[in-house]
């Protein structure tokens, strides 16, 4: 990433650039969802796209997630490359049948005749005091489904590079963004540079030797903050940002664990059958001998999301909980 002319943009701008570039590149790409056109996006990710690409390709829908997600599947069956925006992935639950049953099953069910090149994107995971219905971290629900791919960008650079890759992928890909990250800033290559980040490639955010911290999406900043504090105490953390949940970069995880022998997974979903549960299983199954301590997980508490701010903060993963878990695995 030592490219000259790096510039700083927001996560929101990065997604907007990715959409604009892919719309420009391929006439089969279109964006459809609630408020994406005239309103410029509920979170302004699609700002300016209607003006630039017109109403044929930037399409406002009524509040009918099942309907327009299903339309995306149909359009993809006959060769278009839809980008379907869910105002939040909490609303994707209304379209669960299309995302889980139609999009990923079609290829197998048709004996290989119909692949579905579709991108479902939008914010995922808890934001701030939105209550139980609007705070779902859906990655663990969708990760259970063969045929789907899932990525969880944590930085503007990853947001742009992963979304562009998702749109070009010939399969259904879920790009799980984050409302809390939309205004965050980060360094990125100049506009002229084609930025594609492969699905299934984790990134080492910070090298360390004492403990591996596995994180993704909103928990990356928690992991980095915790790693900084741990360094002050003399504990050196290797921080791995998964970037994709499915496919999962297992090798990156094993490389780190072979070095540190201790692991804490910090995830934004709930603990029961959460993403960390699967990673934990794979680590103990594949490199059990490398472990010097049980793998620990920091996730949400297993409760519906409360509205009250103090209660909400209490159930979410944070640096303090993560540091406590690191202390445990390091017997510190």
């Amino acid at each position: 990433m030592t490219v000259i002319n790096m510039r700083e943009i927001t996560y929101r701008q990065a997604l907007n650039e990715a959409l604009a570039e892919e719309l420009e590149r391929d006439p089969n790409v279109f964006l459809m969802g609630e408020e994406v056109a005239e309103y410029n996006g509920a979170y302004k990710v699609s700002q300016g796209l209607l003006e630039r690409f017109g109403a044929k390709r930037i399409i406002d829908t009524p509040i009918s997630e099942n309907g327009f997600a299903g339309m995306g599947v149909g359009a993809a069956m006959v060769g278009l490359r839809p980008v379907i925006e869910f105002m939040t992935f909490s609303f994707s639950l209304v379209a669960f049948d299309q995302v889980v049953n139609n999009a990923p099953n079609m290829l197998t069910m048709s004996g290989g005749q119909f692949n579905i090149p579709i991108t479902f994107r939008g914010p995922n995971g808890p934001a701030h005091q939105l209550g139980a219905t609007h705070s779902h971290a859906t990655e663990c629900l969708y990760a259970n489904v063969p045929g789907l791919k899932i990525c969880t960008p944590a930085t503007p650079r990853d947001a742009k590079g992963l979304l562009k890759t998702a749109i070009r992928d010939n399969n259904p890909v879920l790009v799980l963004e984050s409302e809390l990250l939309y205004s965050s800033k980060g360094m990125i290559e100049p506009v002229e540079t084609e930025l594609l980040i492969p699905l299934g490639e984790a990134e080492v955010k910070r090298e360390g030797s004492d403990v591996t911290i596995i994180c993704y999406a909103q928990t990356v900043s928690i992991a980095l903050a915790a790693a900084q504090q741990l360094e002050d105490e003399g504990i050196s953390a290797d921080v791995i940002d998964l970037r994709s949940i499915k496919p999962l970069d297992e090798q990156a995880i094993y490389n780190s664990v072979a070095k540190t022998h201790r692991v804490v997974i910090v995830e934004q979903d709930r603990p029961f059958c959460g993403v960390g549960a699967e990673i934990c299983y794979r680590i103990q199954k594949n490199i059990f001998d490398e472990l010097d301590a049980p793998v620990l997980r920091v996730a949400q508490e297993d409760v519906p999301m409360p509205y009250n701010e103090r209660l909400e903060q209490a159930i979410l993963p944070n640096a303090e909980k993560l540091i406590a878990a690191v202390h445990k695995v390091c017997y510190a």
Partner: protein, 321 residues
């Protein structure tokens, strides 16, 4: 591409016969436990899909629900590929991975075979969206049963299709029963076609026991859509002679009702019309029927002699390259 009105009626009668004889044979093989899973037969409803085929082009999109054998056969998928799919063989139209409810044939523009009631109605709407997006004059034929009209997906799709003026024909095959629940017990309207009015979509009723009525009503609808894209709704009144699936004795309806519809059989009717008009002889009909029976029987042989999909096929189609 062949204009609709030139499709030969004797050819259409042949398709109806092929569908019927194929399904009678499938029913036997199911009872002999050669076929697994669910198996929903179309017998009695043949004039619906064949009437629609007669009104459209080969490159128009077609998508349907789980009672789908007839739709594939009518589109030209071979009886061999259809029977092999029921047997779960690799020569099946979905390579043995879809089964009775999930027939697909891309080359014939047959887009499934969808078994969650109502869930393919938005998918059909998206296919029509793609046609309009590319400024093609194709129509999408979306078949579903009377049970689908009470699903949310159906309502969302009709509103979207009307809003975006998409070239899709929603064809409700009203066979009076959603599994064992009659339309009167499931639907708050006297006439299903009135659903369309709620979305400002033009609605038409066709007699599903009469091939010519289905074809002519649909031809009018298709012509109108080709000139200016818009959705349409056609309620086709029909009847399935068999139960909902192979395990259903259909005790929720009367023998008299069944007999009444059988008296109005769509194959018998078209045969009589063609005979009266001297377009078909008894010899020709017998020959067609014999050929249909033979084709069905041969498809069983083909299916039985075909290979099972290899175990690796499990992983072949999860992700496309």
């Amino acid at each position: 591409m062949e204009p609709a009105e030139q499709r030969d009626e004797v050819d259409m009668l042949w398709l109806m016969l092929l569908i019927r004889r194929f399904e009678e044979r499938a029913s036997q093989q199911y009872q002999a436990q050669k076929i697994g899973g669910f198996c929903h037969l179309y017998i009695g409803q043949e004039a619906v899909v064949v009437g629609a085929i007669a009104a459209t082009r080969d490159d128009d999109y077609l998508i349907t629900a789980y009672r789908d054998h007839a739709h594939a056969l009518a589109r030209g998928t071979t009886a061999d590929a259809c029977m092999a799919e029921l047997y779960g063989k690799t020569t099946g139209c979905s390579r043995g991975l879809g089964g009775s409810m999930h027939y697909f044939d891309k080359a014939k523009h047959m887009y499934g075979g969808h078994a969650i009631v109502g869930a393919h109605v938005p998918v059909a709407t998206g296919m029509a969206f793609a046609s309009k997006y590319r400024s093609e004059d194709r129509v999408t034929l979306c078949f579903f049963g009377d049970g689908a009209i009470n699903q949310g997906a159906f309502h969302e799709a009709l509103n979207l299709a009307a809003l975006y003026k998409l070239p899709v024909i929603f064809i409700c095959e009203n066979n009076l029963f959603a599994m064992g629940t009659s339309v009167e017990r499931s639907t708050s309207l006297k006439q299903i076609v009135d659903r369309a009015e709620g979305y400002d979509i033009p609605g038409v009723i066709a007699d599903g026991m009469n091939f010519r009525d289905v074809r002519d009503k649909l031809t009018e609808v298709v012509n109108s859509i080709r000139q200016d894209p818009h959705p349409a709704f056609v309620e086709v009144r029909t009847y399935r002679y068999r139960g909902h699936s192979m395990s259903d004795p259909a005790s929720y309806r009367t023998k008299e009702q069944l007999e009444q519809f059988r008296m109005d059989d769509p194959i018998t009717r078209l045969r009589a019309q063609l005979t009266r008009e001297e377009k078909l002889t008894n010899e020709k009909f017998d020959e067609l029927d014999k050929r249909a029976k033979k084709t069905a029987l041969e498809s069983v042989k083909f299916a039985e002699e075909s290979d099972e999909p290899p175990l690796e096929a499990l992983y072949d189609y999860i992700y496309a390259q």
